[in-house]
Symmetry: C2
Subunit: 395 residues, 2 copies
Amino acid sequence: MKFEFQNPTHLVFGAGTLAHLGEAVRAYGKHALLVTGGGSVKRNGTFDRAISSLKAYGITFAECPGIEPNPKLSSVITGTGIARHEGCDMVVGLGGGSVMDAAKVIAASVCYQGDPWDMIMHGQENRRVPTQALPVITVPTLAATGSEMNGTAVITNEKTSVKSFVGAKCLYPKVALVDPELTLSVPPDQTAFGICDLITHVTESYFNGIDCTPIQDRFAEGVILTAMEWGPKALSNGLDIEARAQVQWASIVALNGWVQVGTATNYPVHMIEHVLSAHHDIAHGAGLAIVNPAWMRLAAKTRPDRFARFAQRIFGLPAPSGKEEQTAREGIDRLESFLRSTGCPTRLSEVNIGDTMLARYAQDSLHIIHDKDGRLPGRPPMSESDIIELLRSAL
Amino acid sequence: MKFEFQNPTHLVFGAGTLAHLGEAVRAYGKHALLVTGGGSVKRNGTFDRAISSLKAYGITFAECPGIEPNPKLSSVITGTGIARHEGCDMVVGLGGGSVMDAAKVIAASVCYQGDPWDMIMHGQENRRVPTQALPVITVPTLAATGSEMNGTAVITNEKTSVKSFVGAKCLYPKVALVDPELTLSVPPDQTAFGICDLITHVTESYFNGIDCTPIQDRFAEGVILTAMEWGPKALSNGLDIEARAQVQWASIVALNGWVQVGTATNYPVHMIEHVLSAHHDIAHGAGLAIVNPAWMRLAAKTRPDRFARFAQRIFGLPAPSGKEEQTAREGIDRLESFLRSTGCPTRLSEVNIGDTMLARYAQDSLHIIHDKDGRLPGRPPMSESDIIELLRSAL
């Protein structure tokens, strides 16, 4: 293992912490751009409580509402314009992963004179990784992406149907204020997609990281086991604040770097899913529930030992020597069954995606990122035909 | 769970990273106070390699050598004087936990006009938690305390034989440069004490934290399992760089906050051990190997379920309902056997401590910290007679 790690975000976690938003952010600015989504935060009172806390500390704000799921580049550009025109000195993202991601890219775009798309990974040679951004504050209303405590964001260029990511030191939020009460009203389907999203963050590095990272393996297993224990409780009773808190904490830890640290991982499942949700109006977590088991079945052929151990440690399956392939398959089946039990789709047909564009999806994912041999990085690296085969198996 | 978390330290981890010391720290100062211990870093060439890397980036240094195990307040005062006289603008701790802890307190003392002991927790009303410090850089040569990536330090007031701690935001190192190659020459006894130290950091929060922290539990178990898997490899072949790296990584994670986060834990075993090593010349890890199993047996009486689960998850013991006390005892016996197998003492008589001062040890630990009922905080809180009973059971 050889790596560097730093996550400077100040995490404030707990039921009722929304009331402390103003206090938590006052060191970072006086006039915030308040980025929100489709309006649920206004309907359920979260917005009013947030601005009330800001006002109590003399913090004023301008609004950037209406960030859509799979946030669009045009929304980032709009938000950047508002922040500049209003002279905002920090950006508060109050919403789900899309809102927080848009808030991050807006914060960087305000400090950058070119096209914000320059920052986003999409295969170009001269990408401009941002080095400056307004202070970002995240207040998640969904337990899913982990965006509240990391330095990455995912944006969709709606003109080209390319959905891709940016990761930079300056994008780490100064404060992540995480109040699980804000997730009590999240409907079951979105709750399930969030659980799938966080599990997939962890399986990516578990299966695509380097060998011999035993602590990271244990951490990953701990996140999955906790999500599988507490996720169903949050689904069966959305008002169970303890279950909501555990799921949200799991979602943070799943992608704040503590599990991935030192694994030098790739995210092939995410890369493929991003293409699906760039072309189709599906939730990211739903797409992952379809792609991940299919990817695992393909990858398990090349590393049955690793997948057998997953089956053993997560599902307590016996793992007799010489039967690794069978054990691996059983573990993947169990994970897929779990996802189905939460209400996630696990086949493309369930989200009305057919076989007509499989080659396009494969090409698009390779356009975003590929190794020197033109393959999607991961274990194993995947060629265009590998990706098509994977997607065909999930039809 | 309701908590705040922030660990801003930039971790640079990996074999060979010492060569990058100058590059990693150049942003923080130009003239370092280089704090070291008994001289092993000079004998084995580590010192020369460190200063060579500093020089390559134009960084000069003044020396503060000779920090002893269980670092003394007088050494902190001496180091503070050197740093002031030399006009140092950062402090580099190159050594074990004692050296790094001394470096932290020196860095804060330079910015404080009073007695450095004011900062240290020892029961007084008007303690001055430091708010300012020179930038601290840690370069550990031992895998044990985890001091390289946290904001705490332990210092001994040799005049009063009080050994206690300070924790503050300003004490977090700016950079922790962790090169497992530097631990290849650590002798077996110190290696074993380090393994015991890191395991005890994790058992403290596992058993003394609040209820319902499932992810933190899994993380703690992961650290212990990894230390028990890789520790013996590092002991049987000190030159096994992979084993050294895994043990060192475990020691960092054991106390950088990722396991303790949200648990609101106390550290009763550490509090009691600190008193022993303040009065007697014993290694901290050796003292922990004696106190921790004895403490666990006492605490298991009040919470057998919790200790039975430890036995089950760490040692794979069956945990039949209704037999929790027996399972708990077996788990503690297994941990003690493991510690003995690494060469740690597990009885006070092995380190020549008798029963003549048991009441004094108990009183001293309560002097450092106690709850409103005069008991040592933990689960369970312990009175003076509880602590005496515990120590007597370890004679």
